[in-house]
Symmetry: C2
Amino acid sequence: MTRTSQEVRLLNRPIGRPDSSTWEITESAIPPLGDGQVLIGVQHVSIDPAMRGWLNDVRSYVPPVQVGEVMRAQGVGTVLESRTDDLGVGESVTGMFGVTDLAVTDPSTVTRIDTSIADGPTWLGALGMPGMTAYFGLLDVGRLTPGDTVVVSAAAGAVGSMVGQIAKAHGARTIGIAGGPEKCAWLVDELGFDAAVDYKNERVLASLRKLAPEGVDIYFDNVGGETLDAALANLRRGARVVVCGAISTYNETSLPPGPSRYMSLLVFRASMTGFVVFDYEDRYDEAQRAIATWLEEGAVSARTHVAEGGVAGFPQALDMLFDGRNTGKLVLEIARRPY
Amino acid sequence: MTRTSQEVRLLNRPIGRPDSSTWEITESAIPPLGDGQVLIGVQHVSIDPAMRGWLNDVRSYVPPVQVGEVMRAQGVGTVLESRTDDLGVGESVTGMFGVTDLAVTDPSTVTRIDTSIADGPTWLGALGMPGMTAYFGLLDVGRLTPGDTVVVSAAAGAVGSMVGQIAKAHGARTIGIAGGPEKCAWLVDELGFDAAVDYKNERVLASLRKLAPEGVDIYFDNVGGETLDAALANLRRGARVVVCGAISTYNETSLPPGPSRYMSLLVFRASMTGFVVFDYEDRYDEAQRAIATWLEEGAVSARTHVAEGGVAGFPQALDMLFDGRNTGKLVLEIARRPY
């Protein structure tokens, strides 16, 4: 019996926001497994802001996805077939399987996940890249100190919601910036943020001045644009700005203006530092153990936003992310139940 | 006998570039000295880019100069009269005397200088704030390591010329960015920079790519604007951008766009850090001793550009600075000889 996979491939590099002309849904025959290979049935794939950057043909921290290639994506799934002793059929795993329902791969690119600790989508969120990003960005890059006032943008997103909760667990005061009253209420009422700023209905610069009159010690930036400037205007002396992302600008067709207020770094003796989570790979264990403990204790709550539609639902799911229609970690369900 | 001082006062806050309507030259009667006071005869005042910032009515690292006040400036001079045991007549001193020829002040705001080590203007340059700024910006903020590739803008200016020479003295490769072939030749031929980029006749981004194909470890920014973006595009992994100044933007009437390429900080895991030299006051001795030794050994050469015209020459001297017509540290001569 020949099995076929369904996958999303890059058809045309988008100019501006990806649309229907960007993607192609294809089917491919799955070849018989070679020695040492495994076949993964993918259950969920992670939908991430970073995906937009991978579509541009520019030098960055990872090579771009090439036209014709399966779209890069982290996934969780189950080993369906194995021709290696390293991984057995039925094991739950995560890896960069791409936007596909079936992936043939080498076990060295695959990591086991313990689904007794958390379900698959949480391994793509709180215990996955977004959790790692929040943890190392806040503690290592941001050098969080108890008592700090921490502001995070895209606070209702996968990374932002973890940043606020991890900061809180370390005794920081946390202010989240998010779009709309529902998200803001969720941050304060459910996640325990001390305050939230609704950027769609408030002037962020003025609201931050009111909420943090002494200034901000750490600004964890996921959005760039005007929000970054609003934070720069409200730093405290010695502040750390953690440059994690700039989702507000990812679909611009030309390089948008940078932060006008960057000279605040001088006034406040502050720093702005970029990082890439992959550099912390050898310490993921440490972060996962810490986050798993917080999850168990209830200090951190992981919310997943599951988009449906299988492989073919990918373009819509990505659109949802850029519209900010998700609350919590956005994943795309590929298969309703384990293979 | 009543003595009068001549001084420059702020008449109107400038919008954009200061001009003749900005300043007023006044004469004031010098009152008899009070107990504990000294009268300083000012010989040279320092002309600094930071002066432009002091004219804006905004919160910054120092309060703005108020309309009607004597323009703030560092000076060197001689004690003419003394009613304190702390300072004797004839001693050479430096302090924030303002743009004036005679200043009545308290000895606690005055520092003795040793003119056997260097002349007065050098105490405003290599051994003064510019030297301190270069030293701490490069070594502390920039964390200079031997073998680093260091790029500095406004390299023929007071701070920039010191940055390049101190970097060189620490075994770094140094590239200076300056305007015009004469300044560039001076950097390479006289100061020992490894290379220079003439921003008036070259595309800085492309030239840096050629001169530092492996990327830049430290970019010491005195100018902001496009030059900052050109450097951000050419960082090496782990680079440090030292935010010292932004002279290219100081006379803008609205907040100019910030560095479009700031997301390079993420790609290169780099940081951008602001600082204010006054924070290092308790370590000026250390820096002055080091720089004095380099001056003596010839590892560092201090060039002073002396503008003439006395107190009334201040507006023209400041203009010269913003036109980049100085090479080396710009000072205004107030008195031809010691009082």
